[in-house]
């Protein structure tokens, strides 16, 4: 059992660093503030390793299962005799795994930023925001109480708002941070209402108690929740679906994903931290946290999760194929991978091998954090080097950025699911669990896997090959050591973390089980990924002699290949014509016009309506008196007649 003090210290150290950097940061000389934040986080990281170690290797033994422990809890607000809001720490496999992931990725980002953000005017402010974010994220994963989760959830929202809007002189950054904040707030509303409904029927906010009361179908609580309903759907389903809406907002699931691409306006390391590895998986974590209730008491809500996940996965993968901004490609790929985790949870059952999807989702969360953070940090180096986000300004950077190139390749192989890189293992298990429960989802997931390999390698080849090689430039450096070391460390994990026997640690019911590789099952997905890579290789790798823009080049490429291979033509037709024109473009259009448009229309309608009634506020007292007496008589008529 982990030491309570260790967990409390690792949680509050980032808060301390936030306070120091926030209050005195400007007065600290040079990059001392950043170093201090990095040092405290390093301690936090070591402590979370030790906590996780003592949890995973200390408590199994007695029952053969990892228990859910509450090492620390205080009553924060007593509502009534039996109903209180508590603040506490919950230790179970997923929370222990998450603190390691969060502190590790955050540490890498802290170190990376030492070089990347060097010379920024508000250096200390940046680190104070990073620390605040890390604190909120740790608080979120350690919450023992759904209400406490909500508080930290909002705090995560606020700190990401601050980080996205960090370049506040840029209007686009301000707009993006506002958009992210409002869209996720909108989703959080669902979350809050869901919490209220859930706690109203469960008469508790504690995760453990809620699970105990709502899971057995015979308990009075779950019967009351099943009996009550609205629009023919039971209160429990409403509660879980609404909570999932909150999670979908933070995790950028369709159609609440519209903030994620814009959020790339923040500094690139921030994208690595928030939009790849930590905040966006909060929704997945939330579903996993409530998984027993979802799975055992309300499978209907779990279907919603599964379908939202798979639709987002495919949708985002299609869009990612058409983007030319490196960070946007990565943003959509994040959305797609999170969709993977979501549907894995959605198709999962409960307990032992049945819960393979649950375990696979958590596994993928872990491996994805590693390779996606690596991709974003690599993108940071590239953007630092070429001073542009656009793919057409890149190409042939192999020699100039050797370390970035190699690590980026590893990450791409991992996300594409090529063995033996980490993504292969986690994706394999997700696909297997989908195959076992829902064939349609499995097929869509396979297509997505192929697309993923294609667009990631399109990205890789466009950046590092494609154009004649740019040789190392004496005036330009790949980056400081503090930027390259995180890349190397992450690359090691992106490559090898697949070999962690995850199912021995994280399972839906806490009881470890063994997973086996099914070679014959793996052939198809790997083949698809390889062909995705091959297509990308065919069309994006070749260095062109014409130093024109990328679009022209692909056009000439198209003509050349058109005459050579009939089979290429089909591929091309599928990728260029069918996928680009018929599906991806409309999907992008739908995203821009309909989804964004609906949000804009709602805002505009409120403005128009507000304008049209502003005539009422004329400033004339006699009019006010009319309205007054009109209101009184109106109310009187309404109520006297409704009684009679």
């Amino acid at each position: 059992m982990p030491d309570t003090r260790v967990i409390l210290i690792l949680l509050f150290l980032p808060l301390l660093s936030f306070l120091i950097n926030g209050l005195f940061g400007r007065k600290l000389p040079g990059s001392l503030g950043g170093l201090l934040a990095t040092a405290t986080l390093f301690v936090s990281f070591l402590l979370s390793l030790s906590a996780a170690y003592s949890y995973f290797f200390g408590s199994v033994g007695i029952t053969g299962a990892y228990e859910t422990l509450i090492p620390f809890q205080v009553t924060w607000l007593q509502f009534s005799e039996s109903f209180s809001i508590n603040m506490g720490i919950l230790a179970d496999p997923i929370s222990m795994m998450m603190i390691v992931v969060v502190t590790f990725i955050s540490l890498m980002v802290h170190v990376f930023s030492l070089g990347y953000m060097k010379g920024e005017e508000r250096f200390a402010t940046y680190y104070s925001f990073l620390s605040l974010f890390t604190f909120s994220m740790l608080g979120l994963v350690l919450s023992s109480n759904i209400f406490q989760t909500y508080i930290f959830w909002e705090l995560v929202g606020v700190s990401s708002f601050l980080l996205i809007g960090y370049y506040y002189q840029k209007p686009s950054a301000v707009a993006a941070s506002k958009k992210a904040f409002i869209v996720t707030r909108f989703a959080d509303l669902g979350f809050l209402i869901g919490i209220l409904i859930l706690s109203y029927y469960g008469k508790s906010f504690d995760f453990v108690t809620l699970t105990e009361r709502l899971v057995p179908a015979a308990s009075t609580y779950s019967q009351a929740a099943a009996a009550a309903g609205f629009l023919g759907i039971s209160a429990l389903t409403w509660a879980l679906v609404l909570i999932f809406v909150g999670g979908a907002g933070k995790s950028a699931m369709f159609p609440l994903h519209i903030w994620l691409p814009d959020a790339m306006e923040g500094p690139t390391p921030v994208s690595a931290l928030i939009h790849a590895a930590t905040m966006v998986v909060a929704g997945v974590y939330l579903v996993a946290r409530l998984f027993p209730i979802f799975s055992l008491a309300c499978p209907g809500a779990l279907d919603v999760v599964a379908w939202t996940g798979i639709i987002s996965a495919l949708f985002a993968a299609l869009i990612a194929c058409t983007q030319t901004d490196i960070k946007r490609v990565l943003a959509y790929s994040t959305m797609s991978q999170i969709g993977y985790m979501m549907f894995a949870l959605g198709v999962s059952g409960y307990g032992a091998e049945e819960g393979l999807g649950y375990m696979a989702a958590m596994f993928h969360l872990f491996t994805h954090a590693m390779f996606k953070a690596l991709l974003f940090l690599g993108a940071g180096v590239i953007i630092h080097y070429v001073h542009s986000n656009d793919l057409k300004d890149m190409g042939g950077l192999r020699k100039a950025l050797p370390i970035t190139g190699a690590t980026f390749l590893i990450a791409c192989l991992a996300i594409a699911g090529i063995p033996p890189f980490s993504g292969f293992f986690s994706k394999e298990e997700i696909l297997l669990s989908a195959y076992n429960s829902n064939y349609t989802i499995y097929i869509i997931a396979l297509i997505t896997a192929g697309l993923t390999a294609f667009y990631m390698f399109r990205l890789y080849f466009s950046i590092f090959w494609n154009k004649p090689q740019v040789s190392a430039n004496e005036h330009k450096h790949e980056g400081t050591l503090s930027m390259l070391i995180p890349l190397l460390i992450l690359a090691v994990f992106a490559a090898f973390s697949g070999f962690i026997p995850f199912s021995s640690f994280v399972t839906s019911d806490g009881i470890p089980f063994e997973t086996h590789l099914h070679l014959e099952f793996s052939i198809l997905p790997v083949l698809l990924s390889v062909s995705g890579i091959a297509i990308a290789w065919r069309y994006y790798k070749k260095p062109s002699t014409v130093p024109a823009s990328v679009s022209q080049k692909t056009g000439s490429l198209y003509r050349t290949i058109n005459k050579k291979f009939y089979i290429d033509e089909i591929y091309l037709f599928v990728t260029k014509k069918l996928v680009f024109q018929l599906i991806a473009r409309p999907a992008a259009w739908f995203d821009k016009t309909i989804v964004d448009g609906m949000m804009n229309t709602a805002a505009a309608a409120a403005q128009v309506f507000s304008l049209s009634i502003s005539g009422l506020q004329s400033g004339k007292l006699q009019h006010y008196a009319y309205y007054f007496i009109g209101g009184a008589i109106g109310l009187a008529i309404l109520f006297i007649y409704s009684i009679a």
């Binding site: 509303l189 502003s614 009684i643």
Partner: protein, 472 residues
């Protein structure tokens, strides 16, 4: 009745009377007092008043059941005492420049006295007298920016509208008196049968409350009066006047009209929906800070109505708790607006562009206050709203709760508009760096502390809840 008992039951009122007398004597003696002296004196008296308010509270009924005091009412009076102290502290700059300070003090304390009697009234006659006592000085106060035309207009609108609303209220009271034959709250409760005449009377009485609370469609005076009045009066109106009426509203609804709860529940729901919509839609379009806060406060009241609609101790406690938090949040915002208005005369939202560059401290206070008003955790405002919605959810009216929660998102939009102006907009002619005295600073710090810490003080809500039991 023993004299000492009389004193302890009427303690809050006696304190205010004493303050009133001090300034009356000062005024009569025809000597010119320096404003600085008067301000310090008033500060001292208000602090003393606030402290005494907490000592030796006792429950009791006086004057043949016309006047009553309970621990809950005493607590509410203490909240108001606290609010008036903050209002006074934060408007030091404005008062320093004013020529007729003793009159200002006498009027504001008289109005306050009216509020206290209103809280303690247990009889419609007393209720009406107290209401007028609180309203008439207020109209005079609105006129206190003597050189400004808008201030005169505000006073005129205030007195005429409140006369109008009093008429209807009085009409309602006489109808209900006619049908029950009593003016006593307790006796009346037993004689109500929800016949149409009584419903009509109830609606008319409700409009009286609605007028004071700026519930739509009885809110039209609000924006004009808030905009024209001097800022201390505006903050008094938005916090103290509203707070009092919320306290009285829940007591009257729960005790006197307890048997008609089915009707007033529906009335509250209808009013909430209309008020929230109107308040939010109008707040979207405002360009003047005071008008903006006026409409935001209209929307805030709608949330209180949801809490009141719960009809139980939780509803009562959550609305009192919210008023307390609202005092901190709204006065925090007003502290900034009031100070900037007093020092530079600037009141429009676009004047606030780039405020962060020149006045970071004021900007943070304004930002946090607006966040608290918008109900964003971890500010106190969030907990206030949460308890209100939680209490309201007890009735099982989920569509209403969802509607309210949706409106919270809309409101976020316009609060963020101001925050964007303050923190992000570039400024062509930003407000210069302002200095502020110790008392303004103190008021601001208290508000800030309240907003940041109140949500996390465990015992407060429970204390209010424990007082609320048995009052239903």
């Amino acid at each position: 009745m023993i004299t000492s008992e009389l004193f302890s039951v009427l303690k809050h009122e006696f304190c205010l009377l004493a303050i009133l007398l001090v300034f009356l004597v000062l005024k009569i003696r025809e000597r010119e007092w320096k404003n600085e002296t008067l301000i310090q004196l008033m500060n001292g008296l208000l602090v003393l008043n606030f402290i005494i308010g907490w000592l030796m509270n006792s429950e009791g009924v006086l004057f043949d059941g016309m006047f009553r005091n309970t621990l809950l009412i005493a607590f509410e009076k203490n909240i108001l005492n606290f609010a008036i102290l903050i209002v006074h502290l934060q408007s030091t700059e404005w008062m320093r420049r004013h020529k007729h300070l003793p009159e200002f003090y006498m009027l504001i304390v008289s109005s306050m006295l009216g509020m206290f009697f209103l809280l303690s009234s247990a009889n419609w006659l007393m209720f009406y007298l107290a209401l007028e006592l609180s309203a008439i000085p207020l109209a005079a106060l609105c006129n206190f920016d003597l050189e400004k035309k808008a201030s005169g207009e505000a006073a005129m609108k205030m007195i005429l509208s409140s006369a109008f609303s009093s008429c209807i209220l009085l009409f309602g009271i006489s109808l209900i008196y006619g049908s029950t034959g009593t003016l006593d709250f307790g006796e009346m409760a037993g004689r109500l049968s929800a016949m149409p005449l009584q419903i009509l009377a109830f609606i008319f009485i409700f409009t009286g409350f609605a007028f004071k609370l700026s519930v739509a469609p009885f809110h039209f005076w609000t924006a004009d009066v808030y905009e024209g009045s001097p800022v201390p009066v505006t903050s008094y109106l938005s916090v103290i006047s509203k707070g009092t009426v919320v306290f009285v509203l829940s007591t009257v609804f729960y005790t006197v009209f307890g048997s008609m709860s089915g009707i007033w529940y529906d009335v509250l729901v209808v009013s909430t929906v209309i008020t929230m919509t109107i308040g939010n839609l109008f707040a979207l379009r405002q360009t003047n800070m005071k008008r903006f806060l006026a409409f935001s406060s209209i929307a805030q009241v709608a949330y209180i109505l949801i809490g009141v609609s719960a009809g139980n101790e939780q509803g009562m406690a959550s609305s009192i708790y919210f008023v307390l938090i609202y005092v901190f949040s709204n006065l925090g915002a007003f502290a900034v607006v009031s100070h900037i208005s007093a020092m530079t005369g600037k009141e429009s939202i676009s004047d606030y562009n780039g405020l962060y560059k020149t006045n970071p401290a004021l900007s943070w206070l304004l930002g946090i206050s607006l966040f608290s008003l918008a109900g964003i955790p971890p500010t106190a405002g969030f907990f206030g709203k949460l308890f209100l919605l939680g209490a309201g959810a007890g009735t099982g009216n989920w569509p209403l709760i969802i509607f309210a929660a949706l409106n919270m998102v809309v409101s976020l939009y316009y609060y963020l508009r101001v925050i964007r102006a303050v923190f992000m907009e570039p400024a062509d002619s930003a407000i210069p760096k302002l200095t502020y005295g110790i008392s303004v600073r103190l008021a601001m710090l208290i508000c800030l502390g309240g907003m940041l810490l109140l949500g996390f003080t465990t015992g407060l809500y429970e204390y209010i809840l424990s007082l609320s039991f048995g009052l239903k």
